[in-house]
Protein backbone atom coordinates (compact mmCIF):
# COMPACT_ATOMS: atom_id res chain seq x y z
CA UNK A 1 0.00 0.00 0.00
CA UNK A 2 1.29 3.41 -0.88
CA UNK A 3 2.54 5.42 2.08
CA UNK A 4 0.57 8.37 0.78
CA UNK A 5 -2.68 6.59 1.37
CA UNK A 6 -1.92 5.98 5.03
CA UNK A 7 -3.58 8.56 7.25
CA UNK A 8 -1.17 10.14 9.73
CA UNK A 9 -3.60 9.63 12.60
CA UNK A 10 -6.26 7.02 12.58
CA UNK A 11 -9.46 8.72 13.67
CA UNK A 12 -11.54 5.57 13.44
CA UNK A 13 -9.42 3.60 15.88
CA UNK A 14 -10.97 3.53 19.37
CA UNK A 15 -9.05 5.31 22.14
CA UNK A 16 -6.34 2.88 23.35
CA UNK A 17 -7.27 3.66 26.94
CA UNK A 18 -10.65 4.91 28.08
CA UNK A 19 -13.13 4.79 30.90
CA UNK A 20 -16.71 5.92 31.25
CA UNK A 21 -18.72 6.68 34.37
CA UNK A 22 -16.18 5.08 36.68
CA UNK A 23 -16.92 5.34 40.39
CA UNK A 24 -15.11 3.81 43.35
CA UNK A 25 -15.65 4.02 47.07
CA UNK A 26 -13.39 2.74 49.83
CA UNK A 27 -14.63 2.45 53.42
CA UNK A 28 -17.55 4.76 52.75
CA UNK A 29 -15.53 7.58 51.19
CA UNK A 30 -15.77 8.39 47.49
CA UNK A 31 -12.44 8.11 45.66
CA UNK A 32 -13.65 8.39 42.07
CA UNK A 33 -17.00 9.73 40.99
CA UNK A 34 -18.47 9.04 37.51
CA UNK A 35 -15.14 9.69 35.87
CA UNK A 36 -14.75 9.80 32.07
CA UNK A 37 -11.42 9.68 30.29
CA UNK A 38 -10.28 8.98 26.73
CA UNK A 39 -6.67 8.98 25.67
CA UNK A 40 -6.28 9.36 21.90
CA UNK A 41 -3.79 7.11 20.08
CA UNK A 42 -0.25 8.51 20.23
CA UNK A 43 -1.04 10.96 23.03
CA UNK A 44 1.06 11.33 26.16
CA UNK A 45 -1.34 12.12 28.97
CA UNK A 46 0.07 13.46 32.23
CA UNK A 47 -2.20 12.83 35.18
CA UNK A 48 -1.69 15.16 38.14
CA UNK A 49 -3.39 14.97 41.47
CA UNK A 50 -2.63 15.62 45.12
CA UNK A 51 -1.68 12.78 47.44
CA UNK A 52 -4.69 10.57 47.94
CA UNK A 53 -6.54 12.08 44.97
CA UNK A 54 -7.07 8.57 43.58
CA UNK A 55 -4.46 8.49 40.79
CA UNK A 56 -3.32 4.97 41.63
CA UNK A 57 -6.90 3.77 42.08
CA UNK A 58 -7.81 5.15 38.65
CA UNK A 59 -4.76 3.54 37.06
CA UNK A 60 -5.48 0.17 38.70
CA UNK A 61 -9.06 0.30 37.41
CA UNK A 62 -7.85 1.20 33.91
CA UNK A 63 -5.42 -1.74 34.05
CA UNK A 64 -8.17 -4.15 35.05
CA UNK A 65 -6.52 -4.84 38.42
CA UNK A 66 -9.41 -3.41 40.39
CA UNK A 67 -13.14 -3.56 39.65
CA UNK A 68 -14.94 -0.21 39.78
CA UNK A 69 -18.23 0.06 41.70
CA UNK A 70 -19.79 1.51 38.54
CA UNK A 71 -18.70 2.28 35.00
CA UNK A 72 -16.34 0.57 32.59
CA UNK A 73 -12.71 0.77 31.55
CA UNK A 74 -11.41 -0.34 28.15
CA UNK A 75 -7.84 -1.17 27.15
CA UNK A 76 -7.02 -1.35 23.44
CA UNK A 77 -10.72 -1.76 22.73
CA UNK A 78 -11.28 -4.57 25.23
CA UNK A 79 -12.94 -4.46 28.66
CA UNK A 80 -10.11 -3.93 31.15
CA UNK A 81 -11.32 -6.70 33.46
CA UNK A 82 -11.50 -9.25 30.61
CA UNK A 83 -8.36 -8.33 28.70
CA UNK A 84 -7.14 -10.96 26.23
CA UNK A 85 -3.57 -12.27 26.26
CA UNK A 86 -3.02 -10.56 22.90
CA UNK A 87 -3.90 -7.19 24.39
CA UNK A 88 -1.69 -7.84 27.41
CA UNK A 89 1.36 -8.38 25.20
CA UNK A 90 0.90 -4.82 23.87
CA UNK A 91 0.63 -3.27 27.31
CA UNK A 92 3.56 -1.95 29.35
CA UNK A 93 2.65 -1.13 32.93
CA UNK A 94 4.90 0.12 35.70
CA UNK A 95 3.21 0.16 39.10
CA UNK A 96 4.23 2.61 41.78
CA UNK A 97 6.07 -0.03 43.81
CA UNK A 98 7.16 -2.78 41.46
CA UNK A 99 7.97 -5.97 43.34
CA UNK A 100 7.61 -9.16 41.36
CA UNK A 101 9.75 -12.31 41.20
CA UNK A 102 12.12 -10.99 43.85
CA UNK A 103 14.08 -14.23 44.17
CA UNK A 104 15.35 -13.99 40.58
CA UNK A 105 18.36 -12.14 39.24
CA UNK A 106 17.74 -9.08 37.04
CA UNK A 107 18.91 -10.81 33.86
CA UNK A 108 17.00 -14.02 34.58
CA UNK A 109 13.78 -12.17 35.27
CA UNK A 110 13.96 -10.09 32.08
CA UNK A 111 14.83 -13.19 30.07
CA UNK A 112 11.94 -15.13 31.60
CA UNK A 113 9.41 -12.33 31.12
CA UNK A 114 10.59 -11.73 27.57
CA UNK A 115 9.43 -15.19 26.49
CA UNK A 116 5.82 -14.13 26.96
CA UNK A 117 6.11 -11.17 24.59
CA UNK A 118 6.35 -11.70 20.82
CA UNK A 119 7.94 -8.32 20.14
CA UNK A 120 10.44 -8.41 23.04
CA UNK A 121 13.61 -6.40 22.34
CA UNK A 122 16.62 -8.07 24.02
CA UNK A 123 19.03 -5.46 22.61
CA UNK A 124 17.09 -2.71 24.31
CA UNK A 125 17.33 -4.65 27.59
CA UNK A 126 21.09 -5.09 27.28
CA UNK A 127 21.69 -1.44 26.28
CA UNK A 128 19.51 -0.07 29.05
CA UNK A 129 21.07 -2.21 31.79
CA UNK A 130 24.48 -1.04 30.64
CA UNK A 131 23.46 2.61 30.40
CA UNK A 132 21.87 2.55 33.83
CA UNK A 133 24.75 0.46 35.26
CA UNK A 134 22.60 -2.33 36.63
CA UNK A 135 24.27 -5.73 36.75
CA UNK A 136 22.14 -8.54 35.25
CA UNK A 137 23.60 -10.78 37.99
CA UNK A 138 22.13 -8.75 40.83
CA UNK A 139 19.23 -10.40 42.67
CA UNK A 140 16.03 -8.33 42.38
CA UNK A 141 15.65 -8.35 46.17
CA UNK A 142 18.95 -6.49 46.53
CA UNK A 143 18.10 -3.58 44.21
CA UNK A 144 17.73 -0.06 45.56
CA UNK A 145 14.29 1.54 45.05
CA UNK A 146 15.69 3.59 42.15
CA UNK A 147 17.19 0.50 40.49
CA UNK A 148 13.98 -1.46 41.00
CA UNK A 149 12.05 1.28 39.27
CA UNK A 150 14.50 1.35 36.36
CA UNK A 151 14.32 -2.43 35.92
CA UNK A 152 10.51 -2.18 35.88
CA UNK A 153 10.78 0.53 33.22
CA UNK A 154 13.13 -1.57 31.09
CA UNK A 155 10.69 -4.45 31.39
CA UNK A 156 7.76 -2.26 30.30
CA UNK A 157 9.60 -0.67 27.37
CA UNK A 158 11.33 -3.82 26.07
CA UNK A 159 8.02 -5.40 25.09
CA UNK A 160 7.54 -2.48 22.64
CA UNK A 161 4.18 -1.52 24.06
CA UNK A 162 1.37 0.09 22.09
CA UNK A 163 0.13 1.39 25.41
CA UNK A 164 2.44 2.42 28.23
CA UNK A 165 1.08 3.17 31.70
CA UNK A 166 3.37 4.54 34.39
CA UNK A 167 2.30 5.23 37.96
CA UNK A 168 4.66 7.87 39.39
CA UNK A 169 7.55 6.62 37.26
CA UNK A 170 9.95 9.33 38.36
CA UNK A 171 9.37 9.07 42.10
CA UNK A 172 12.65 7.40 43.02
CA UNK A 173 14.78 8.37 40.03
CA UNK A 174 17.58 10.93 40.20
CA UNK A 175 17.39 13.91 37.81
CA UNK A 176 19.64 12.29 35.17
CA UNK A 177 17.67 9.04 35.11
CA UNK A 178 14.45 11.03 35.08
CA UNK A 179 15.54 13.01 32.04
CA UNK A 180 16.52 9.72 30.37
CA UNK A 181 13.10 8.29 31.05
CA UNK A 182 11.33 11.39 29.74
CA UNK A 183 13.37 11.27 26.54
CA UNK A 184 12.42 7.63 26.12
CA UNK A 185 8.72 8.37 26.64
CA UNK A 186 8.79 11.33 24.25
CA UNK A 187 10.56 9.46 21.47
CA UNK A 188 8.49 6.31 21.81
CA UNK A 189 5.32 8.34 21.49
CA UNK A 190 6.69 10.25 18.52
CA UNK A 191 8.11 7.35 16.56
CA UNK A 192 6.25 4.19 17.44
CA UNK A 193 2.99 5.98 18.12
CA UNK A 194 2.91 4.53 21.63
CA UNK A 195 0.08 5.92 23.73
CA UNK A 196 1.25 6.89 27.20
CA UNK A 197 -0.44 7.60 30.51
CA UNK A 198 1.74 8.68 33.39
CA UNK A 199 0.92 10.09 36.77
CA UNK A 200 3.34 12.37 38.55
CA UNK A 201 3.89 14.98 41.19
CA UNK A 202 6.75 16.52 39.28
CA UNK A 203 5.00 19.07 37.18
CA UNK A 204 8.00 20.19 35.13
CA UNK A 205 8.41 16.61 33.82
CA UNK A 206 4.89 16.74 32.58
CA UNK A 207 5.39 20.11 30.93
CA UNK A 208 8.20 18.63 28.89
CA UNK A 209 6.73 15.46 27.48
CA UNK A 210 2.97 15.48 27.92
CA UNK A 211 0.79 16.24 24.92
CA UNK A 212 -2.30 16.33 27.15
CA UNK A 213 -2.82 16.97 30.82
CA UNK A 214 -5.57 16.03 33.26
CA UNK A 215 -6.06 17.19 36.85
CA UNK A 216 -7.64 14.64 39.17
CA UNK A 217 -9.34 16.34 42.10
CA UNK A 218 -12.09 15.26 44.48
CA UNK A 219 -12.89 12.17 42.45
CA UNK A 220 -13.19 13.71 39.01
CA UNK A 221 -11.07 15.22 36.30
CA UNK A 222 -11.42 18.95 36.82
CA UNK A 223 -9.38 19.86 33.77
CA UNK A 224 -8.45 18.03 30.56
CA UNK A 225 -6.54 19.97 27.92
CA UNK A 226 -3.87 19.71 25.25
CA UNK A 227 -0.60 20.77 26.90
CA UNK A 228 0.44 23.29 24.23
CA UNK A 229 -2.80 25.22 24.54
CA UNK A 230 -2.98 25.21 28.31
CA UNK A 231 -0.91 28.33 28.93
CA UNK A 232 -2.70 30.24 26.21
CA UNK A 233 -6.20 29.23 27.25
CA UNK A 234 -5.88 29.82 31.00
CA UNK A 235 -5.09 32.93 32.98
CA UNK A 236 -5.33 34.38 36.45
CA UNK A 237 -7.24 37.64 36.54
CA UNK A 238 -6.70 40.00 39.45
CA UNK A 239 -9.32 42.68 40.00
CA UNK A 240 -8.86 45.54 42.48
CA UNK A 241 -11.69 46.05 45.02
CA UNK A 242 -13.35 48.74 42.86
CA UNK A 243 -13.37 46.47 39.80
CA UNK A 244 -14.45 43.44 41.85
CA UNK A 245 -17.50 45.40 43.07
CA UNK A 246 -18.67 45.83 39.45
CA UNK A 247 -18.88 42.10 38.78
CA UNK A 248 -22.30 40.57 38.72
CA UNK A 249 -22.28 36.79 38.79
CA UNK A 250 -19.84 34.38 37.24
CA UNK A 251 -17.61 35.33 34.33
CA UNK A 252 -17.65 33.22 31.16
CA UNK A 253 -15.01 30.50 31.54
CA UNK A 254 -14.58 31.06 35.26
CA UNK A 255 -12.98 28.05 37.00
CA UNK A 256 -12.14 29.32 40.47
CA UNK A 257 -12.67 32.55 42.35
CA UNK A 258 -10.94 33.72 45.48
CA UNK A 259 -11.90 36.77 47.49
CA UNK A 260 -8.76 38.39 48.85
CA UNK A 261 -8.81 40.03 52.31
CA UNK A 262 -8.70 43.56 50.87
CA UNK A 263 -11.78 43.00 48.68
CA UNK A 264 -9.81 42.29 45.52
CA UNK A 265 -10.63 39.18 43.49
CA UNK A 266 -8.39 36.52 42.01
CA UNK A 267 -10.17 34.53 39.29
CA UNK A 268 -8.88 31.65 37.19
CA UNK A 269 -10.34 31.84 33.68
CA UNK A 270 -10.37 29.42 30.77
CA UNK A 271 -11.21 30.17 27.14
CA UNK A 272 -11.39 28.29 23.87
CA UNK A 273 -8.18 28.43 21.81
CA UNK A 274 -8.29 31.61 19.76
CA UNK A 275 -11.30 33.10 21.60
CA UNK A 276 -11.28 36.43 23.46
CA UNK A 277 -11.14 36.91 27.22
CA UNK A 278 -14.33 38.23 28.89
CA UNK A 279 -14.82 42.03 28.99
CA UNK A 280 -14.12 42.14 32.74
CA UNK A 281 -10.41 41.66 31.98
CA UNK A 282 -10.39 45.21 30.63
CA UNK A 283 -11.76 46.81 33.84
CA UNK A 284 -9.53 49.57 35.27
CA UNK A 285 -6.70 48.13 37.34
CA UNK A 286 -7.27 44.56 36.13
CA UNK A 287 -4.13 42.48 35.80
CA UNK A 288 -3.76 39.18 33.97
CA UNK A 289 -1.07 36.64 34.58
CA UNK A 290 -0.16 33.54 32.61
CA UNK A 291 -0.18 30.56 34.92
CA UNK A 292 2.43 27.85 34.81
CA UNK A 293 1.09 24.32 35.10
CA UNK A 294 2.02 24.11 38.76
CA UNK A 295 0.31 27.40 39.67
CA UNK A 296 -2.72 26.44 37.67
CA UNK A 297 -2.93 23.12 39.47
CA UNK A 298 -2.60 24.76 42.89
CA UNK A 299 -5.19 27.43 42.04
CA UNK A 300 -7.74 24.95 40.79
CA UNK A 301 -7.37 22.33 43.50
CA UNK A 302 -6.75 24.50 46.54
CA UNK A 303 -10.45 24.43 47.42
CA UNK A 304 -11.57 26.35 50.45
CA UNK A 305 -8.47 26.28 52.57
CA UNK A 306 -7.97 29.36 54.72
CA UNK A 307 -6.14 31.96 52.71
CA UNK A 308 -2.50 32.36 53.62
CA UNK A 309 -2.77 36.16 53.61
CA UNK A 310 -5.62 36.01 56.13
CA UNK A 311 -3.52 33.81 58.37
CA UNK A 312 -0.70 36.29 58.21
CA UNK A 313 -2.94 39.15 59.19
CA UNK A 314 -4.23 37.23 62.17
CA UNK A 315 -0.69 36.57 63.35
CA UNK A 316 0.04 40.26 63.32
CA UNK A 317 -2.80 41.04 65.75
Amino acid sequence: MSALLMPSTNLVEPAPLACAGVSKRFDGSTILSRLDLQIPAGAVLGLIGRNGAGKTTLIRILMGLLAPDAGTATVLGEPALLMSDAAKTCLGYVPQTPDALKWMRVGEMLDFIGRFYPRWDPDYVADSLLRWTISPEKPLAKLSPGERQRVALIRALALRPRLLVLDEPAASLDPVARRDLLREIALRAGESGTTVLFSTHIVSDLERVASHVAFLHEGSLVLKAPMDDLKETHTRLWLPPAGAAQLTGKLPGELRRRQLPDGALSIVLAREAGAAWPAATALPGADMEVLGLEDLFVEITRGFQPDFAVGRQRLRL
Binding site: A186, L187, V203, R208, S211, M227, L230, K231, G292
Partner: protein, 140 residues
Protein backbone atom coordinates in the same frame (compact mmCIF):
# COMPACT_ATOMS: atom_id res chain seq x y z
CA UNK B 1 22.47 23.98 13.40
CA UNK B 2 22.88 22.19 16.68
CA UNK B 3 19.86 21.29 18.82
CA UNK B 4 21.63 22.79 21.85
CA UNK B 5 21.28 26.24 20.33
CA UNK B 6 17.68 26.14 21.54
CA UNK B 7 16.77 26.67 25.17
CA UNK B 8 13.65 25.05 26.57
CA UNK B 9 12.14 26.20 29.84
CA UNK B 10 9.14 24.02 30.66
CA UNK B 11 7.79 26.29 33.39
CA UNK B 12 8.10 29.57 31.46
CA UNK B 13 4.84 31.40 30.70
CA UNK B 14 5.10 30.59 26.98
CA UNK B 15 4.29 27.06 25.85
CA UNK B 16 7.36 25.16 24.63
CA UNK B 17 6.34 25.23 20.96
CA UNK B 18 6.16 29.01 21.15
CA UNK B 19 9.58 29.21 22.82
CA UNK B 20 11.06 27.29 19.90
CA UNK B 21 9.25 29.43 17.33
CA UNK B 22 10.46 32.68 18.93
CA UNK B 23 14.05 31.50 19.25
CA UNK B 24 14.27 30.30 15.67
CA UNK B 25 12.64 33.50 14.48
CA UNK B 26 15.29 35.52 16.32
CA UNK B 27 18.17 33.39 15.08
CA UNK B 28 16.94 33.75 11.50
CA UNK B 29 16.19 37.48 11.79
CA UNK B 30 19.66 38.18 13.14
CA UNK B 31 21.32 36.23 10.35
CA UNK B 32 22.80 33.69 12.78
CA UNK B 33 20.96 31.02 10.81
CA UNK B 34 21.49 31.70 7.12
CA UNK B 35 19.24 30.60 4.25
CA UNK B 36 19.84 26.97 3.37
CA UNK B 37 21.11 25.97 6.81
CA UNK B 38 19.66 22.61 7.76
CA UNK B 39 17.70 22.41 11.00
CA UNK B 40 17.98 19.48 13.41
CA UNK B 41 15.37 16.79 12.91
CA UNK B 42 12.29 16.76 15.13
CA UNK B 43 13.68 13.64 16.79
CA UNK B 44 17.01 15.30 17.51
CA UNK B 45 15.45 18.30 19.24
CA UNK B 46 12.87 16.19 21.08
CA UNK B 47 15.59 13.78 22.24
CA UNK B 48 18.09 16.44 23.28
CA UNK B 49 15.58 18.41 25.34
CA UNK B 50 13.40 15.45 26.40
CA UNK B 51 10.28 17.09 24.99
CA UNK B 52 7.36 15.75 23.02
CA UNK B 53 8.14 15.47 19.27
CA UNK B 54 4.68 16.81 18.45
CA UNK B 55 5.62 20.07 20.16
CA UNK B 56 8.66 20.41 17.90
CA UNK B 57 6.64 19.50 14.80
CA UNK B 58 4.10 22.13 15.69
CA UNK B 59 6.82 24.81 15.96
CA UNK B 60 8.34 23.78 12.63
CA UNK B 61 4.96 23.76 10.90
CA UNK B 62 4.18 27.26 12.14
CA UNK B 63 7.50 28.58 10.84
CA UNK B 64 7.00 26.75 7.56
CA UNK B 65 3.58 28.36 7.25
CA UNK B 66 5.16 31.77 7.86
CA UNK B 67 7.68 31.04 5.14
CA UNK B 68 10.74 31.16 7.38
CA UNK B 69 11.44 27.46 7.00
CA UNK B 70 11.17 25.18 4.01
CA UNK B 71 10.60 21.43 4.01
CA UNK B 72 13.08 19.71 1.77
CA UNK B 73 12.00 16.62 -0.10
CA UNK B 74 13.50 13.58 1.57
CA UNK B 75 15.48 15.74 3.97
CA UNK B 76 14.56 17.87 6.91
CA UNK B 77 13.82 21.53 7.32
CA UNK B 78 16.08 24.29 6.05
CA UNK B 79 16.01 28.03 6.54
CA UNK B 80 14.02 29.39 3.59
CA UNK B 81 15.97 30.96 0.77
CA UNK B 82 13.67 33.94 0.31
CA UNK B 83 15.20 35.82 3.20
CA UNK B 84 18.52 36.79 1.70
CA UNK B 85 19.44 39.48 4.19
CA UNK B 86 18.79 39.91 7.87
CA UNK B 87 15.63 41.96 8.42
CA UNK B 88 15.76 45.65 9.26
CA UNK B 89 16.41 46.83 12.83
CA UNK B 90 12.78 47.88 13.10
CA UNK B 91 11.33 44.49 12.30
CA UNK B 92 13.85 42.74 14.55
CA UNK B 93 13.02 45.15 17.35
CA UNK B 94 9.39 44.20 16.85
CA UNK B 95 10.28 40.66 17.94
CA UNK B 96 11.60 42.02 21.22
CA UNK B 97 8.56 44.21 21.85
CA UNK B 98 6.58 41.87 24.17
CA UNK B 99 9.58 41.39 26.45
CA UNK B 100 10.40 45.08 26.55
CA UNK B 101 6.79 45.84 27.39
CA UNK B 102 6.98 43.38 30.25
CA UNK B 103 10.22 45.00 31.51
CA UNK B 104 8.58 48.45 31.27
CA UNK B 105 5.56 47.24 33.23
CA UNK B 106 7.63 45.68 35.97
CA UNK B 107 9.98 48.68 36.18
CA UNK B 108 6.93 50.89 36.83
CA UNK B 109 5.59 48.47 39.43
CA UNK B 110 8.91 48.65 41.22
CA UNK B 111 8.98 52.44 40.89
CA UNK B 112 12.47 52.44 39.38
CA UNK B 113 13.90 55.58 37.78
CA UNK B 114 14.17 55.23 33.96
CA UNK B 115 17.89 55.98 34.04
CA UNK B 116 18.70 53.02 36.31
CA UNK B 117 16.71 50.59 34.15
CA UNK B 118 18.37 51.75 30.93
CA UNK B 119 21.83 51.62 32.51
CA UNK B 120 21.24 48.06 33.64
CA UNK B 121 20.05 47.01 30.17
CA UNK B 122 23.13 48.63 28.64
CA UNK B 123 25.37 46.76 31.09
CA UNK B 124 23.65 43.46 30.29
CA UNK B 125 24.13 43.98 26.56
CA UNK B 126 27.84 44.55 27.07
CA UNK B 127 28.13 41.60 29.43
CA UNK B 128 26.49 39.40 26.80
CA UNK B 129 28.99 40.51 24.10
CA UNK B 130 31.87 39.62 26.37
CA UNK B 131 30.42 36.26 27.27
CA UNK B 132 29.90 35.10 23.70
CA UNK B 133 33.18 36.58 22.44
CA UNK B 134 34.80 33.21 23.15
CA UNK B 135 31.89 31.02 22.13
CA UNK B 136 31.08 32.03 18.56
CA UNK B 137 28.47 29.97 16.80
CA UNK B 138 29.96 27.92 13.99
CA UNK B 139 27.69 26.57 11.26
CA UNK B 140 28.35 22.95 10.43
Amino acid sequence: MDADLLHVQPSAPEPIYRQIVEQLRRLIASGKLLPGVELPSVREIAGRHAINPMTVSRAYSLLEYEGLLERQRGKGMIVAATRRRPQSDDSRLELLQPRLQEVARQARELGLPDRRVLERLQALLEEHDERIAHAVYKPR
